[in-house]
């Protein structure tokens, strides 16, 4: 299991029945493959649909139906489409139960930076700032380090996405929860030691008792 799959399968366990969930472009999109059996989740795409499904069979693509990355998707029975202001009414208005976003950095207070690297990469924030401000739970799904540098840091060196702390950080090494007391190490990946995690993390971690091994969801053949 590669790092991305591990992360997606752990994040999938955060899904709850009858909830509305937005998955960011890239790694977070993989989460939809691992929705646990018996759980019904409605996925929102911020370009204007609730209830989308897996990419359509070859030749069945509809040019009017894509995800926020421009990739073809399908609509499940019971889907609903809407304009961009309604889409962000759902997001900013507190109607979105959970969002899963990629991250460039998260700091000791749980602040996320995920939309630009000054002087290098300026993709823009898209819907990320609204998602972090508005979703009931914000989950950051990212690799633990990049090019040997920790992505979890004491203080952000990149511009923040919002001042609201995220709810949970899931990497291929650990599950970490920002709390008022600091970053709480909740789980470690199979085969990864607490010492390994501390070595790869640029901020202090709270460690309370034994740190359990990360459970992961199994692939769901029915899922999007």
């Amino acid at each position: 299991m590669d790092a991305k799959e591990l992360i997606a399968r752990r994040v999938a366990l955060e899904l709850h029945d009858r909830t509305l969930v937005n998955l960011g472009i890239g790694l977070p999109t993989l989460v939809s493959r691992y929705v646990p059996h018996g759980i019904t989740v409605a996925f929102q795409s911020e370009n204007g649909i609730i209830g989308f499904g897996a990419p359509p069979p070859n030749g069945m693509e509809d040019p009017h139906l894509t995800d926020a990355g421009g990739g073809f998707i399908s609509a499940l029975p019971g889907a609903a489409s809407f304009d961009s202001s309604t889409s962000f009414a759902l997001i900013r208005g507190g109607h979105l139960d959970m969002t899963v976003l990629g991250g460039l950095q998260v700091d000791a207070a749980g602040h996320l930076a995920n939309w630009m690297v000054p002087g290098k990469l300026v993709p823009g924030m898209g819907g990320a700032m609204d998602l972090v401000v508005g979703a009931k739970r914000v989950i950051v799904a990212m690799q633990h380090a990049a090019k040997g540098q920790p992505k979890i840091v004491a203080t952000l060196t990149l511009p923040p996405t919002a001042i609201r702390p995220v709810s949970l950080i899931v990497t291929e090494m650990a599950v970490i929860e920002p709390t008022p007391e600091g970053l709480l190490l909740r789980e470690r990946a199979p085969g990864v030691s607490v010492a390994d995690i501390i070595a790869q993390t640029g901020a202090d971690l709270l460690i309370i008792g034994e740190v359990p091994e990360m459970p992961v969801a199994i692939p769901n053949e029915d899922a999007a």
């Binding site: 370009n47 995800d67 993709p123």
Partner: protein
């Protein structure tokens, strides 16, 4: 009832230096025929308001490729390296706006509102130069309305009254922009007689549309 015009005639209405709202999200729901006609007539110096510049060769990306755009207000450019390079080279001035804020600012512009208060962007670079207004102890940014000289709208259908429908995620910013420009030009995939679109299916009342582009041939 209005007379449908060609995409070239629609593009001819738009002068160099105009501000133009363009519907679409990664090119989906963008008015492709008007965009092609704008490129063909070599328009220059546009200020574009839209969600993104899609990819090179797609949607608003075509206007970027062809050097038609001087300024743009967008929520992201991450998928279009041409836009990024032109921004870094100083050829295009880019104003990045959070997507939900962009939608609300366009809506406010079409709605006669003086602005809206949003929590999005507080404590980030987005708040630069903006008023922060506290409501019940919580800080919000005052975001101002956006309007443009033109709105270029892609619709699924239009009737002869210019009542418009949209399909699935091709709707996105189009119905918002139809309220927020001095001149609204709609590019439908199909034109149907009055009465074919039920009143409840209309997403943009025809009274908002100034010019209709003829159906694709």
């Amino acid at each position: 009832m209005r007379i449908a015009i060609s995409a070239a005639d629609a593009a001819a209405l738009i002068p160099d230096g105009a501000s133009v709202m363009i519907g679409g999200f990664m090119g989906v729901g963008s008015p492709d025929r008007i965009i092609d006609a704008l490129v063909a007539r070599r328009v220059r110096g546009l200020t574009v308001i839209g969600n993104d510049t899609a990819f090179p060769g797609v949607g608003i990306g075509k206007l970027i490729d062809a050097g038609c755009v001087a300024q743009a207000k967008l929520s992201h450019i991450g998928t279009n390296p041409v836009t990024q390079n032109k921004m870094i080279a100083g050829e295009i001035e880019i104003d990045l706006i959070p997507q939900g804020t962009l939608a609300e600012r366009i809506r406010a512009g079409g709605n006669g509102l003086g602005g809206i208060l949003t929590p999005t962007g507080v404590g980030t670079v987005v708040e630069k130069g903006k008023r922060i207004i506290e409501v019940e102890g919580r800080a919000f940014l005052l975001e101002l309305p956006l309007r443009a000289d033109f709105a270029l709208i892609r619709s699924r259908e239009s009737d002869y009254n210019c009542n418009l429908t949209y399909r699935l995620t091709a709707m996105n910013f189009n119905p918002l922009m139809a309220f927020a420009a001095d001149c609204v030009i709609a590019e439908p995939d199909e034109i149907v007689p009055v009465g074919v679109i039920p009143p409840d299916a209309v997403r943009t009342p025809g009274i908002l549309v100034h010019h209709l582009v003829e159906r694709p041939r």
